[in-house]
């Protein structure tokens, strides 16, 4: 009796298997879809955000630039106009809007260089930093304070007052030397440059004379 019942059920075994396949395949169609996370997990992003390696100071960057460390890649995330007006020497311009373009990816998605992102202050650079970190790009840093900080500390360092500690004076001498490296002239070294500047001016005047007869010929 039992055997007969089993045989009755088993007679439909292929139908049942086919049914299971269809149900499973249909289940895939009917399952609610969700957006998958691309890149690193939120916990990892959070730990990157609070990591002290995230920011580098302008003094540190100036030191690396002066010692010509080849492992640093500077990326200016401001728009092109600001970049052409003034930027840190040897920086590449990738505006924030073009950050996720294919052309930008080869600069950002690599593990050979230490990338330093900067903008006028931290704000846009931090946005770029978050976006790139989320995509699991490596070795990203943000220049603390951006170009403004760069200007206030390296290009135009404030002279410490006499009641400040010795470190402040040391820092000032470093910054002053750095600013000279980046092309700022101080009154102390002015005498030497005066002589040099006179010579190229003469050359320019000669060139102008040459142009004048050519115009007349036409």
């Amino acid at each position: 009796m039992v055997k007969k019942k089993v045989a009755k059920v088993l007679a439909f075994r292929y139908m049942v298997l086919a049914g299971i396949l269809i149900i499973l395949a249909g289940g895939l169609v009917l399952l609610p879809k969700y957006e998958k996370h691309e890149g690193i997990k939120p916990e990892q992003l959070l730990s990157n955000v609070i990591s002290p390696e995230r920011y580098i100071t302008t003094d540190y960057l100036a030191d690396k630039l002066i010692s010509q460390d080849p492992s640093y890649l500077l990326i200016d995330v401001r728009d092109e106009e600001s970049y052409t007006t003034y930027s840190i020497p040897n920086a590449i311009n990738i505006p924030l809007a073009k950050l996720l373009d294919e052309d930008s990816e080869m600069y950002l998605n690599q593990d050979q260089f230490n990338i330093v992102l900067f903008s006028n202050d931290n704000f846009s650079a931090d946005q770029a930093w978050i976006l790139c970190n989320r995509l699991d790009y490596k070795n990203l840093h943000v220049l603390k304070g951006g170009v403004n900080m760069w200007y206030n500390t390296i290009i135009n360092p404030i002279k410490p007052t006499e009641d400040m500690p010795a470190e402040a004076f040391e820092l000032f001498t470093f910054r002053k030397a750095a600013s000279m490296y980046f092309g700022v002239a101080y009154p102390e070294q002015f005498k030497a440059t005066v002589v040099k500047k006179v010579i190229p001016k003469k050359v320019i005047t000669v060139k102008k004379k040459k142009k004048a007869p050519a115009e007349g010929g036409c």
């Binding site: 086919a18 396949l21 269809i22 395949a25 249909g26 895939l28 169609v29």
Partner: protein, 196 residues
């Protein structure tokens, strides 16, 4: 999490060992389900045994549905899976030659080795034939190279080339498979029963 090897959960050095283990299990299942008989394999072309069609179609479906469920649940990232590159004309011509060999010899390369393992003489002849074919192909490779490396379409899947939703594609594919099973059963019943 997965796939396990590309994500470094299982080191690459284990590749060969895993391959051998899977190969042993695969060979065992092939032999156990009677796939080392050339009569059973050729039956699919003459319409008296559709085991080949059913087994391989079902295997593909189970793997496909299982993979997509695991992808959905986050155990496997389907975008990281290896997709075999498509060389269109090479694949078509190779498929025709392989099919012709399958009808005349009664084995596909995997099952022929399986049958050699249990000592079938026809399979041994077949494998020697495969070796001769490989030798001819290697010697004439300079002639066949443009065909072999031409019409490269990249690592594409049907979902990419047709541009359809993968879940709907699987569902339709499942229905096609089951319809083909039913039709193959009808054909088999119409044919005279052959004992082998």
């Amino acid at each position: 999490m997965g796939p396990l090897i590309p994500n470094g959960i299982i080191p690459h050095e284990w590749d060969s060992i895993i391959a051998i283990l899977i190969g042993i299990v695969f060979g065992f299942v092939l032999e156990a389900s009677g796939f080392s008989s050339s009569r059973k394999l050729a039956g699919v072309f003459y319409g008296y045994d559709f085991a080949v069609l059913k087994v391989f179609f079902t295997a593909a479906l189970v793997a496909l549905i299982g993979m997509f469920y695991m992808d959905y649940l986050g155990y496997v990232d389907i975008s990281q899976m290896y997709v075999h590159p498509t060389y269109l004309w090479g694949a078509i011509i190779g498929g025709v030659i392989m099919g012709a060999g399958f009808v005349t010899g009664g084995f596909c390369p995997g099952t022929s080795l399986c049958a050699v393992a249990i000592g079938k003489i026809d399979a041994i002849v077949y494998v020697i034939g495969i070796m001769i074919g490989i030798f001819i192909f290697s010697e004439l490779f300079f002639l066949l190279q443009p065909l072999y490396e031409g019409s490269f379409l990249g690592n594409i899947t049907l979902v990419d080339s047709l541009g359809v939703n993968p879940y709907w594609f699987i569902f339709i594919f499942t229905i096609i498979a089951i319809i083909s099973f039913v039709i193959s059963d009808i054909i088999r019943k119409r044919n005279k029963k052959i004992f082998y």
